[in-house]
Symmetry: C2
Subunit: 154 residues, 2 copies
């Protein structure tokens, strides 16, 4: 599912608005995240992009991802083994995560805004927080692992 052509420019505009400089490295990483549904970990992003920009430093990938997360352009998804995967968060969605193979699948739910509202409402009453984003992960078995006959401990 390739993102529409203007998704990148929209994201870049957001960067400019925040007075964040647009560098080739940032563009490259953003573009990669936008056009891959694989929810890659840091190391994979680095390995994929290093050939395209031979000077790219691993430290830059870390810096850039942390920056994008702070800006809310990208979110982190917890990984089966404590690691972190990265996900371009253009449209709100949540995640189905396979507890066996670790695959992450995006779920686009028309009811999400409403559910989000209910959650924030209760949480605000109970805790006094002011919210601005919501992450949801559902854990289970993907169809492929089900077919393999995998079952889980719990």
């Amino acid at each position: 599912m390739k993102e529409p052509d203007d998704t990148l420019s929209k994201a870049l505009k957001k960067l400019r608005e925040q007075h964040v400089r647009i560098t080739p490295q940032r563009k490259l990483i953003l573009d990669y995240l936008m056009n891959h549904e694989n929810h890659p970990p840091v190391e994979e992003i680095y390995k994929e992009l290093a050939p395209q920009m031979s000077s790219l430093s691993l430290a830059t990938v870390y810096n850039t991802l942390n920056l994008f997360v702070e800006l809310g352009i990208v979110i982190e998804i917890p990984n089966e083994n404590g690691g972190v995967r990265y996900d371009f968060f253009g449209r709100p969605h949540y995640h189905a995560i396979c507890e066996n193979c670790g695959k992450v699948t995006d779920i686009y739910d028309p009811n999400l805004p409403q559910i989000d509202g209910m959650l924030q409402n209760t949480a605000k009453k109970q805790s006094g927080y002011n919210f601005n984003s919501c992450h949801i992960e559902l854990y289970g078995l993907c169809p492929e692992c089900q077919a393999k006959g995998v079952t889980l401990a719990s």
Copy 2:
């Protein structure tokens, strides 16, 4: 909010059912997690418990936490800086996380089972996964940080 006295024995029973051996180390860590609302990271658990059991090894804390997560007794909460915090998951709840100070507050919502059902329903139709648990995190500013006048980039 101290957990009722039998919460520990219930959890221990669950361990036995899974044929997981009950060791003093596991009891200690479980007890600590149950009776602290601070959602501690690994290092903090180790530092707190080391004085109580001088032989306790950091590796054991890692092993034990990973075990508890696999068994579904404990869940991981993503931390502001990529780290992980641990949370005893006795009763289903979700989390309000402060983007400024990193505090994690538990939210007990009577509608959670219903919301959970809606999410799983849509997600199952769209992805074919079979689910068995659901994690929700709301990100925002806690009352204290609001009072301090903190505002966020995004």
